[in-house]
Amino acid sequence: MPDSGYPWPIETTRLDNGLRVVVSEDRTAPAVAVNLWYDVGSRHEPAGQSGFAHLFEHLMFEGSVNVAKTEHMKLIQGAGGSLNATTNPDRTNYFETVPAEHLELALWLEADRMGGLVPALTQETLDNQRDVVKNERRQRYENVPYGDAWLRLLPMLYPPGHPYHHATIGSMADLNAADLATFQAFHQTYYAPNNAVLTVVGDAPAAEVFALADKYFGALPARADIPPAPDGRTVTPTGQPVRETVTADVPAPRVYVAHRTYPFGSPGYDVATVLATVLGSGRGSRLYQRLADGERIAQPDLVGAYGVDLAHAPAPLIATATARPGVTAERLAEGLAEVVDELATVPVTAAELDRAKALLSTSWWRQMATVDGRADTLGRYATQFGDPATAGERLPALLAVTAEQIAEAAAEVLGAADRATLSYLPEETA
């Protein structure tokens, strides 16, 4: 294996208007990935505007000055490409992978919606996409058992006013109240070239991409005063565990145990990543071995732990288990807490550590196996840490984590006093 997690060339430039351009050429396949990270997410939303960053992402597909409504999708798919966009608390990303001969089309489309969305934005479009997003909320959060767990966990972990207190999907009330002027202002505020990173990976030389980027994006004006999101880096622990129990139409008791750890990108988060893998990834993990196999109180397919890789505040680490028939939520919560507690007291063995690192290595290379996976990674590191080449440091850093560091991190951030526990109980047993 290479020493770096990113053994491909990376070239960067910055246009006069502040747009950062990252290129990583790889001519293996005749495909090219175009990816834009805008440094705006739901953490920027003020009270009363929850869900706006994500609803705005939808509006970006609905036409701009030179692109008719729904034409963006049609042009990319008509070029043979795949495309999508996502919004999370930290950022919004837009991406398409196209056969390499359509690179210029993709750049033209992205430039048009970066620089020319507002004149094309209509009340009709807003109303339509508001309905679509409300259906997305119903489908993903309201109409499925446990679907609202994430919506409940965030306010348990982050206090009111914290940028991660509310979920990206937003509330129905705020979505209903969204007006056109707010979205016009949202675009003018955040969708500026100096608030974005354009990454192109695949069958395209850097010099060509830089020239095309300048051609299509170069004349878009920078914005001088982009307001930052509220600072959430410091979350003062209350010293009291938080518990919430929900009785709902769910098929079995389920428990989530959540903690704030460290921001993504920090050394602490690397430790938390390995720790989460030791704790809850795979059949060899502690949670599986103890709760699914050993005590047999958890359903084997539904036990696990993972970090949520947010960069602007101590990021969540979540462990979860669902009860086998006859097992109570209380028993399950005790079991989960025990296994989490032991991370500080029962040293991680060499075999556990090797297993976790092997799984993380495969996971890293899987992300690197496609041009789109690489583009999103480089865009992230350029946006959040100022240098795409730092992406290559992540895997070596994960592989350098020690058992001692895991025990220290567990003692520091996984204490029972800092724990949020969310339990679901089926209605009939309530």
Binding site: P99, L105, N128, G282, P300, W365, M368, A369
Partner: protein
């Protein structure tokens, strides 16, 4: 104006190339591999003729239980030791099945591939299958299905499948079985299914940098101790269309959305109309830009998304539309969806729409075939459907050559809006009267 108004045209396309395919017979089994130079990751996938179509009627889900039981220890080591060995290489044992095949695979950095395949073979060929473990796995699988069936979708899927294909047939029952069928399995069902289908050599599919992979060693590991030849797979099954459209209502009290599954039987995978049929399905519902998604999502705002496609396996196929729509608009969404299916069947497709559909399907053959996992999946298609090494290049040419007449003819021949079964899983008390009043079709008793 700071924007450039003129839309750029395409540059010069590089020729399409699917990775070089290598086929080899090793130790009584077949190895089919694709060369991905420079890839750090490699995938090996053992393909067995042990899909859901091989499960006896009444034993639905036995393949899924066996899949889980494979990891409960082998002749050589217990479950925990096995898990640590596999995961210590950086992979999990990934199992899956469809109607035509059972698949078990590993994905690892290329230098660990032989060790991973040895472990894969150990679980597949020599699982311990201790009766107490098998019973526990069965109970866990039944519970897992119960969990899954608490979500919207599985019950609607089952109702549609039963109505299309008949519950007396294996292919009229859920592919993974249901909570009751799995709960009713016994240890012998599992061990017999293993001895019948998991000892035959099968095919080992490999995707990775073949300069760093010893295919003979992989084949020797995968096929050691196997025996028995291929078994006749059966021809296409004739499935009659319904004479009249019908609605099946699956009650989900309090649901804020209605889950829609609309479908009818369609040709099997080897049908000569496969390409034009796929394109007709793409224009109607197979892409974000399709007619259904445009109208129901982008114009009406009834849903987060709606898809419609022909789905095909070796012996049968079907056309199906699926969506989740807000409860209050269930009836108008159904009316509009049936309207678009009818319009496509009657009027065919336009050149403008087809241009997008054919370019998209063709382009996906390069854009979506990058990772070892996706290439392995493409190789699996070659094996399961007896296709040649240059299949993907030929498919690409066929897609690009399909014209409006061919695709419209396929839409006319293979869409049957009057024979649709419309399954609606939603709050019956709220939507029943509205569905009846919509006049689309009579409400059927799902058991008839």
């Amino acid at each position: 104006m700071t924007l450039i108004a003129a839309r750029p045209g395409p540059g010069t396309a590089r020729p399409y190339r699917f990775p070089a395919v290598v086929r080899r017979t090793v130790a009584g089994g077949q190895v089919v591999a694709a060369h991905l130079p420079g890839q750090n990751l490699a995938v090996a996938l053992l393909l067995l003729d042990a899909g859901a179509g091989r499960e006896p009627v009444g034993k639905e889900g036995v393949g899924g239980v066996l899949a889980k039981a494979l990891e409960e220890g082998t002749a050589q080591r217990d479950a925990t030791t096995y898990a640590l060995a596999v995961e210590g290489l950086g992979t999990e044992l990934v199992t899956g099945l469809d109607w035509d095949s059972f698949q078990v695979s590993v994905q690892v950095p290329v230098d660990r591939l032989t060790a991973a395949v040895e472990l894969l073979a150990e679980a597949v060929r020599t699982p311990r299958l201790d009766p107490a473990d098998v019973r526990r796995v069965r109970d866990d699988e039944a519970t897992a299905l119960r969990m899954d069936w608490a979500n919207p979708g599985p019950r609607a899927d089952a109702a549609l499948r039963a109505d299309l294909f008949g519950v007396e047939n294996r292919w009229g029952r859920p592919m993974y079985g249901d909570p009751d069928s799995v709960a009713g399995l016994d240890v012998d069902d599992v061990t017999v299914f293993h001895s019948e289908w998991f000892i035959r050599p099968g095919t080992l599919v490999v995707a990775g940098d073949l300069d760093r992979i010893d295919l003979d060693a992989l084949g020797a590991a995968a096929f050691a101790g196997t025996g028995g030849g291929p078994v006749e797979r059966g021809g296409p099954i004739e499935v009659p269309l319904r004479e009249q459209r019908r609605i099946i209502l699956v009650d989900r009290p309090g649901s804020v959305q209605s889950t829609l599954r609309l479908g009818h039987p369609a040709p099997h995978r080897a049908h000569p109309d496969h390409v034009p049929m796929t394109l007709a399905g793409t224009v109607l519902g197979g892409a974000f830009t399709s007619r259904l998604n445009h109208l129901i999502r982008e114009v009406r705002g009834y849903t987060y998304g709606i898809r419609g496609e022909f789905g095909t396996s070796r012996r049968f196929g079907r056309f199906m539309v699926s969506s989740g729509v807000q409860t209050a608009v269930t009836a108008p969404a159904l009316v509009e969806a049936v309207g678009e299916i009818t319009r496509t069947q009657v009027g065919g497709v336009t050149e403008d729409e087809l241009a997008v559909a054919r370019s998209w399907r063709a382009g996906q053959l390069s854009v979506e075939l990058q990772s070892p996992r996706s290439i392995a999946s493409a190789l699996t298609t070659l094996v399961v459907h007896d296709l040649p090494d240059d299949y993907h290049a030929r498919l690409r040419a066929d897609l690009l050559a399909a014209d409006v007449e061919q695709v419209s003819a396929a839409a006319a021949a293979h869409l049957h809006p009057e024979a649709l079964t419309l399954v609606v899983e939603g709050d019956a008390a709220v939507i029943r009267d509205e569905l009846t009043a919509a006049g689309l079709a009579p409400l059927a008793d799902p058991t008839s």
